[in-house]
Symmetry: C2
Subunit: 250 residues, 2 copies
């Protein structure tokens, strides 16, 4: 369809494909685009995580944010290996914030954000969206090479070479990482302003299924950062932690 | 392990992760790296193609080329849609070479090569490989935006930003597309020099299962280009075409 009044047409709404993991960060990132007035479609990628909890959370978050569509793409990264999130090794527990911030952690999934953004790009091309949204943020900087500005810039350049829409100049893709320079506490504050349903999100690398539903373990790196974020922001933490989270891993 | 004689150590062999589709082009591309003396690991991606024939061919080609390992990663691109290769629409048949060369064909899979190279990058990082090999070539130029030099260059830049090995300077990834400027006839000639087992390869978008095994349809764009390549190169075509390939599609 062509615009009926080409000269006076208002700027079209931005159209975003947001990667939602079910976690807190990606929910806030997607909510930032909604706050900008973007049309939102969401994509969850099941890359062989240990359980269904994150996917359930991703779907609940998408519904809450008013996503026009929500899709799940399965990609079996276990065939590639190299991470405790996709292989059968223990997730690190009870590490201090200092330990969490050093080196590439064992939960690093090789080329993960490249793979996630590639899938988002494919969906964006199909839907005619021009913004790829990812919850990458500063806390991940030290450990994850694919959570930094130069990576995201390189992906945007790639996207415009990779696609019919980009290479024909019909669309210029942008990679949006609105949390990139935020601390976890800032993310919690921003999410609170945007009414993000934190209680629906799931950040844990090793959640427990309890009678009331999924609970966070409270002890993995991701739980530790999440807890500290709410505490530092002085915002009540609605997360349900497993009953055993204070004691030894049962 | 550190090199015992660091100053006099010979250059290490290149180590390649080659994407093999089961088709003729990717087999020749991988064989080019073997001819350079590279250590070879192969990766086939099952992205919801219509049948098993290509995956069987990919595995047979990997074995023939002496790959150290062969993996299959499943990624369900049907959830994204947008292509007659992954969606339930007819593959175009009986088009002339002129028709094949114009526009973005319906068999274009959105962001396909970005997704394939991302997966190869993840595997390369796990295995310590530094070369990503893809069978992209000149014939695909006109229709597929992600089969051109600028795309491949953009991916190499991305790879070095995306990974621990690249960003820490331990490895500089190269994207190798040795067929990029070759015609199909040149690819057939090069593959013949390198002893590529063309009879094991499967190029067809819509193969037929016959009593003797998989046969090419002989009528889709990919079969038409394959046939013409052997004819132009004046090299006997070992491809088994379906008995019905001369008549109407049954």
């Amino acid at each position: 369809m062509s615009a009926p009044h080409q000269n006076s047409a208002p700027s079209p709404r931005p159209h975003a494909v947001a990667l939602v993991s079910g976690g807190l960060d990606s929910a806030v990132a997607a909510a930032c685009l909604v706050a900008e007035g973007a049309v939102l479609d969401t994509l969850a990628v099941n890359y062989g995580q240990r359980c269904q909890a994150e996917l359930d959370a991703a779907s609940a978050v998408a519904r809450h944010l008013g996503a026009r569509s929500h899709r799940v793409v399965a990609v079996d990264l276990r065939a590639i290996g190299g991470s405790s999130l996709t292989a059968d090794v223990d997730v690190p527990k009870d590490r201090s914030e200092h330990e969490i911030g050093t080196g590439v952690p064992s939960t690093y999934v090789p080329a993960r954000n490249t793979i996630l953004l590639s899938l988002a790009l494919g969906l964006a091309e199909v839907l005619g969206a021009d913004q790829l949204v990812i919850g990458a943020n500063a806390l991940d900087y030290s450990g994850y090479p694919d959570c930094r500005g130069p990576f995201l810039d390189a992906f945007a350049r790639l996207a415009n070479e990779a696609t019919a829409a980009g290479s024909e100049g019909r669309s210029r893709f942008r990679v949006r990482a609105p949390l990139l320079t935020m601390s976890k506490a800032e993310i919690v504050r921003r999410g609170t302003e945007l009414d993000v349903p934190f209680g629906l999100t799931m950040s844990c690398y090793d959640p427990f299924e309890e009678a009331q539903g999924w609970a966070h373990c409270g002890r993995c790196d991701s739980c530790a950062l999440r807890r500290a974020g709410f505490a530092t922001a002085s915002i009540p933490d609605p997360t349900r932690y497993a009953a055993t989270s204070g004691g030894p891993h049962s």
